[in-house]
C-alpha cells in the first residue's frame, strides 16, 4: 500500500461518497418517476460504508461483529420480504426502533467504557442515548398497537405528571453521567432504564389513529440520535446521514400533523377520542341502504366516478378487487379517478402504496388539492371504508373535534355510495354526516365482498 493511501484516508473518502449517495438517493426518492432508483443509490452508499468500516484501525471482536450483522440483517430481510403491504407501517416502526436502540447501545458502550472525552462529547453521548432509547421503546409500542398486540390505549389521570417525573429523573442521571465523564456503571444503567421507561409511558396513551405521526416523529428522533452518536465517534457519515434524516423527518412529521389538522403537541399530550365521544353533534336523516346491482348500473352509465379508499379497503385487502372494478369501468369509457386524503389509512401515502401494489397507475391517483374541485362534476363518489376524511362536519361544525381538518368533498358528488362493514363511527368516534345526506346510499359489507359484487353487477349490465 503506498504511503499516501492509509486506511484512514480510504475510510474518510468512502464516508464522503456514502454521504453524497444518501443525499442523491433521498432526492431521487422524492419524485415518483425516479423514486425506484433512489433506494438503489442509498443502498450502494450503505454497502460502501459498511465494508470500509472493517478497515477501522484498532478494531477487534470480529468474531462478534460478523454474527451480529448476519443475524440482524438476516432476520430483517426475512421479515421485510414476508410482510404484507397493509402491514408496512408497523414494520417501519419496528426497523426504526431498532436503529434507535442501536444508537442507545453505542452511547451505552462509550459511557460504560469511559470512552467519551470532554463535556461536549459526553453530553452528546447522553443526549443521543436518551433519544435513541425513547425511540426504541416507543417504536416497540407503536409496532404493538398497529400489529394489534396492544389494543387498549392506557390512560389515567396524572399521566403527564408521571411522564414529566420520569423525564426529569432521566435528565438528572444524564447530567450526572455527562458531567462526571467517568460515571459509575450503576448511574449509567439507571439512566438508560429510565429513558426506556419514558418511551413506554409516552407512547402507551397515544391512540392508533395518531400512530403515523408518532412513527414519523420517532424516525426523526432516531436520525438525531444517530447524528449525536456520530459526533461522539467522530464519524462524519453518521453525522450527515443522521442530521439529514432528523430534519427531513421533522418536516415530514409536521406535514402529517398538518394534514390531520392537529399540532404535534396535541398528538403527544392529549388522547384522541376523549373529546370525540362528547361532541357527536346532532345528525338528522337516516341511513339508506342500497343493493350492489343498483350501484353497478349507476356506475356503468356514469361519466365520471371518483373512488375514495380508506382504511376499510386496507383491512379487507380489497385493493386488487377495486382496481379490477375500476378497469371494467374504464373499458366502458367511464372517467375513473382515485382520490386520496393525506391521512387516509394508517400512514400518509398508505393508500397510494396499496393501490400501486394492485397496479393502479399513479397518474390516475389524485390528492386532495387536485381532486376536490372535481367532485361537483362527478356522477358517483364511491367511498370504500373511509370515514373521517370525508365527513363534512369538518367544514361546518365548529364544535366537532375534526373541525377545520381538510376533507375530500365527496358530499358534492351527484351520488355518494359508501361501502362500509357496519354502522359504527370512524377512528375519531364521530358520527359522519355524509352518510345521512339525501344523495348518499350505504352498501353494507366488507370491501372485498362488496367489490366482487360490484364487478358481477357491472359485468351483468
Amino acid at each position: 500500500m503506498p504511503a499516501w493511501l492509509s486506511a484512514d484516508l480510504a475510510i474518510q473518502a468512502s464516508y464522503f461518497v456514502t454521504a453524497a449517495l444518501f443525499i442523491i438517493g433521498l432526492k431521487r426518492m422524492s419524485s415518483p418517476v425516479s423514486a425506484r432508483s433512489g433506494i438503489l443509490w442509498a443502498g450502494a452508499g450503505m454497502a460502501v460504508a459498511t465494508l470500509v468500516t472493517f478497515l477501522y484501525p484498532g478494531m477487534s471482536n470480529y468474531g462478534l461483529i460478523l454474527p451480529a450483522m448476519f443475524v440482524g440483517a438476516g432476520l430483517a430481510w426475512w421479515s421485510g420480504k414476508r410482510v404484507a403491504m397493509t402491514d408496512m407501517p408497523q414494520m417501519i416502526a419496528l426497523y426504526n426502533g431498532m436503529g434507535g436502540g442501536a444508537a442507545a447501545a453505542i452511547a451505552a458502550v462509550e459511557l460504560y467504557r469511559g470512552g467519551t472525552q470532554g463535556y461536549a462529547t459526553s453530553t452528546l453521548a447522553v443526549a443521543g442515548g436518551i433519544i435513541g432509547a425513547v425511540s426504541f421503546s416507543g417504536s416497540a409500542i407503536a409496532f404493538g398497537k398497529l400489529q394489534g398486540l396492544i389494543t387498549r390505549s392506557i390512560r389515567f389521570s396524572g399521566q403527564q405528571i408521571l411522564n414529566l417525573v420520569v423525564l426529569a429523573a432521566a435528565l438528572v442521571l444524564g447530567a450526572l453521567v455527562a458531567s462526571q465523564t467517568n460515571a459509575s456503571p450503576a448511574v449509567v444503567t439507571g439512566f438508560f432504564v429510565l429513558a426506556l421507561i419514558l418511551g413506554l409511558t409516552m407512547t402507551l396513551p397515544i391512540g392508533g389513529a395518531d400512530m403515523p405521526v408518532v412513527i414519523s416523529l420517532y424516525n426523526a428522533l432516531t436520525g438525531l440520535a444517530v447524528a449525536f452518536e456520530g459526533f461522539v465517534l467522530n464519524n462524519a457519515a453518521m453525522i450527515i446521514a443522521g442530521t439529514v434524516v432528523g430534519s427531513a423527518g421533522t418536516l415530514l412529521t409536521q406535514l402529517m400533523a398538518k394534514a390531520m389538522n392537529r399540532s404535534l403537541g396535541n398528538v403527544l399530550f392529549s388522547g384522541f377520542g376523549d373529546t370525540g365521544a362528547a361532541a357527536t353533534g346532532e345528525v338528522t336523516g337516516s341511513l339508506k341502504p342500497i343493493e350492489a346491482a343498483d350501484v353497478g348500473v349507476m356506475m356503468a352509465f356514469a361519466q365520471k366516478v371518483i373512488i375514495v379508499p380508506g382504511y376499510g379497503m386496507a383491512v379487507a385487502q380489497a385493493q386488487h378487487k377495486i382496481w379490477e372494478l375500476a378497469q371494467l369501468l374504464i373499458d366502458r369509457g367511464v372517467n375513473v379517478r382515485f382520490a386520496i386524503h393525506p391521512v387516509a389509512g394508517r400512514m400518509p401515502g398508505h393508500m397510494n402504496v396499496l393501490l400501486a401494489e394492485a397496479g393502479v397507475p399513479y397518474d390516475l391517483i389524485s390528492d386532495l388539492d387536485e381532486i376536490n374541485a372535481e367532485f361537483e362534476t362527478a356522477d358517483v363518489a364511491l367511498i370504500i371504508g373511509a370515514n373521517d376524511v370525508v365527513n363534512p362536519v369538518a367544514r361546518t361544525d365548529k364544535s366537532s373535534p375534526i373541525y377545520g381538518m381538510p376533507i375530500l368533498n365527496a358530499d358534492k358528488a351527484k351520488n355518494v355510495i359508501v361501502i362500509k362493514r357496519g354502522k359504527g363511527a370512524g377512528f375519531s368516534g364521530i358520527e359522519n354526516a355524509l352518510f345521512y345526506l339525501d344523495n348518499t346510499r350505504m352498501l353494507y359489507g366488507d370491501a372485498q365482498k362488496a367489490g366482487a359484487e360490484l364487478i358481477q353487477a357491472i359485468k351483468a349490465v
Binding site: 423514486a35 440482524g72 436502540g101 465517534l233 434524516v245 415530514l252 390528492d367
Partner: protein
C-alpha cells in the same frame, strides 16, 4: 474534526434534509419515511466501531445487541423501501410493459 466544523456540518446537513423533502407529493410520504428510516441505518458503522472497541463482557454484550439492531434497521429499511418503490410505475410504463409482454 473540530467542534466548530462538526457544527457547520450539522447545520448544512439539516438544511439539506429540509430541502430534499420540502416539495414531496403526499403519494411518496410513506416510501420516503421508509427510505429515511433506511438511511439512518448508517448507525451500523457506529455500532461496529463501538463493538470493535468493546473490552468488558458488559460492553461486548451491549455492543453485540447494537450491531444486531443496527443491521436489522439497515436491512429491513432497505427491503421494505425497495418493495414499496417497486410498485411506482406510470400508466405509460405499464402500457409499455404490457405490450412487451404480449
Amino acid at each position: 474534526m473540530t467542534g466548530i466544523v462538526a457544527l457547520y456540518i450539522f447545520m448544512l446537513a439539516a438544511f439539506t434534509g429540509y430541502e430534499v423533502i420540502a416539495r414531496v407529493p403526499v403519494i411518496l410520504h410513506t416510501p420516503l419515511m421508509s427510505g429515511s428510516n433506511f438511511v439512518h441505518g448508517i448507525v451500523l458503522v457506529g455500532a461496529m466501531v463501538a463493538l470493535g472497541g468493546a473490552q468488558t463482557p458488559l460492553e461486548k454484550t451491549i455492543g453485540f445487541i447494537g450491531v444486531l439492531l443496527a443491521a436489522g434497521n439497515a436491512m429491513g429499511g432497505y427491503v421494505v423501501t425497495e418493495r414499496m418503490l417497486e410498485m411506482f410505475k406510470s400508466s405509460g410504463a405499464r402500457a409499455g410493459a404490457a405490450k412487451r409482454a404480449h
